[in-house]
Symmetry: C2
Subunit: 471 residues, 2 copies
Amino acid sequence: MEKEEFNLEILEKIIQEKNVNALRELFESIALIDIAEVADRIDDPKELLFIFKTVKSETTAEFFSYLTPEVQEKLVRVFTDKDLMTLIASSYTDDIADFLMDMPANLVERILNITDKQTREVVNRLLNYKENTAGSIMTTEYVTLKNSATVEEALAAIRKIGREAETVYTNFVIDEKRNLVGTVALDDLIFSEPKQLLTDIMVTDFITVEVNTDQEEVAQDFKRYNLDAMPVLNADHRLVGIVTVDDIIDVIEQEVSEDMAKMAAVSPLEDSYIKSSVWALAKKCIPWLIILLVLGVGASIVLNIFEHSLSTLPILAAFLPILMDGGGNSGNQTTVLVTRSLALKEITPKDFLKVIWKELRVSLIVSAFVGLFAFGWVLFEFGTGILGYDELIGLSGWSWFAQAGLVASLVAITLAGAIILSKTIGAVLPLGAKAAGLDPAVVASPLLTTIVDVCALLLYFFLSAQVFNLI
Amino acid sequence: MEKEEFNLEILEKIIQEKNVNALRELFESIALIDIAEVADRIDDPKELLFIFKTVKSETTAEFFSYLTPEVQEKLVRVFTDKDLMTLIASSYTDDIADFLMDMPANLVERILNITDKQTREVVNRLLNYKENTAGSIMTTEYVTLKNSATVEEALAAIRKIGREAETVYTNFVIDEKRNLVGTVALDDLIFSEPKQLLTDIMVTDFITVEVNTDQEEVAQDFKRYNLDAMPVLNADHRLVGIVTVDDIIDVIEQEVSEDMAKMAAVSPLEDSYIKSSVWALAKKCIPWLIILLVLGVGASIVLNIFEHSLSTLPILAAFLPILMDGGGNSGNQTTVLVTRSLALKEITPKDFLKVIWKELRVSLIVSAFVGLFAFGWVLFEFGTGILGYDELIGLSGWSWFAQAGLVASLVAITLAGAIILSKTIGAVLPLGAKAAGLDPAVVASPLLTTIVDVCALLLYFFLSAQVFNLI
């Protein structure tokens, strides 16, 4: 069957007919995750159980790991202890830990009770590692080989114990004291002579992480060194687990989502957007809105002080939005580019002067173009009557141009100044935050608008006071 | 040697002493990419050449691929034809294509001239696939196995031809007509009996892409199905290449950087931030700033029309920034969350009503909290004298509260209304863009601020006209 043809009705029909062969064939032709997505919509736990009992036992653990926590819970409630034991025995420890995290306490207890002591210890340890560390995403099923082994002995060992491991593509070579001394890739084993020693073909410049290393750093190393598995060491430098590349792709996606949320003034969500409750979303949105409201006091004070200018020359008000937005937008461009560049480790706070110098030149070019355009655009707004300016009434020719040009220059110069200022600040903030050990994504964007608003408004009123003798 | 101790001086010293052994040892203990990063800073092409001539030939092609285009070019200019031939012969075709893209025309010609015909054809084809498609990132070095083979024949074939392949972890099974009929993982070969048939152990529900498929979709499939390699088919459904997981991590990073840039109103950069020239950056920043400036005309018109209100009740001006920023920020929160969720395919435009209903409820909660806070905050600003409001002079007790409370309510209600409106629009825009086949990241954020500014200002002046009888 093609993926496109497969849907809930077909699955329900197979289940209701108890068509064992059709179900087995389905599992042959459609990817597990696609079946799981459809099965997620089945309400009756007994129907889910039928799937479990029918398909091949090698498949069920992986299939189970793709179901949503709600469906998993439903299933566990109808499982016999024997069903549960089989599931636990065939699951990887990191999957068990992930799944237990979402279960209610009484089910966790029941599951841990029927789990053998060794697995239970491993799962408990995984559950106890701090979230978002290498320890919390690592798995404990991997192949260790002795450094005295030959290639053929290593292959024999992999054939024997490899099925339980999450990967056999990277294997770990230890000495008699169980210190990690090298890694050996499966393809290198295949390409080598059977009698060669592991010590001759193993990689010795391997990269390791500590259990407490932040998962984002682990992801950086994976990308940089093109790894497919990485050893995790404890404080005593002993091998305690491995991180595999499929977990890393999830980490990258998660970290990116967090960075994006932070830059948009949302505290990072614990769950995906669609799984987050209305309350959870509101709770993540409110704090920064309130902080920004309070920080907005600066701009309010400036407008309060210069309200006299607005009363005297009301046309000034019309350009407040483009000046504040223009400054904010151009600064935000820089902040986002610099923050992303920091996240990708293309730059570090050491590049401070280099980046500032770059943005200063960029901002000069941008402000020249945008400023010139703004000058023409304001004249156009006046000329076409889109905006009404009382002082222009009755004027024409040069005297019209002189009066309209005065306001247009004021707007253009203020905008150009705001762009230069905000691009420079937009570079300084994330670099400064990073240097101070703070998260550039959190600090930079919200602070930027606040600072830029105040500066743009001050510049605007200061210049207009000079030009129009307003004070 | 530890990575931390390694630096440019050490490398220069080794080169100047022509210490062949020390260099070889370096390549044993430090990752290639780390050495390449230091070597990038060497100016003298002859010194670079010394590294190339000294280290093991298996290592040079990969090492070369990690160098910057500038250093690669420097090296190619001092290479003899024989050096070049060796390099090309040991490089993967996708690496050759990547490297040729950055070389000046005369060098490209020289390189293609000394490349054997077969490789040249492959490289030319790769260079011709449209950028950002599966074809442009695929490699042509992979292992195909016949569907009539046994496990032991397959392993023998892999041992023979696998060294040339970019991966042997996923191998491709074809029938006598060269149609792809299955994939077989190296570990499954290792775990199977030598006499078993490939057809018994191969995976038949494999996922494929077409050469013209966008790389972002390829990345989505890799994530969804936890792949480490994926077959690429041409229009005739024949296997023409494979994409491997290490290329996919780069794709994910690149797509994310593009999305972030777009959401910050920057056209996507062709290069990384740090490699982009000042002019290139300015060119990417200017267009959206000008578009936003033009779109800002809406807010300007509103302020122009209601300038009388500002003259009559100047205190209104003080709250313009927090109303516009508050509306923009809260809408941007929603836009970024929804756009990201669309990019991760957690939601599709079909979830329109579901998402709008969710955001409506979120916005009601957020607006209630932030509105209430704003009410108190404005009273605080008046009470402490942070903001001066002429009408309050001489008032105290209830009459003070009645007058100050009137402005505070006006600000609070406008802000609450702006939040509800902007969060709803913030959800509609990316979903609508996606449904219309446009890029949600490009369309949503810039349009949002423009629309929200106008709405927030209209609401503000409309309400204040009612409350204070301004018109």
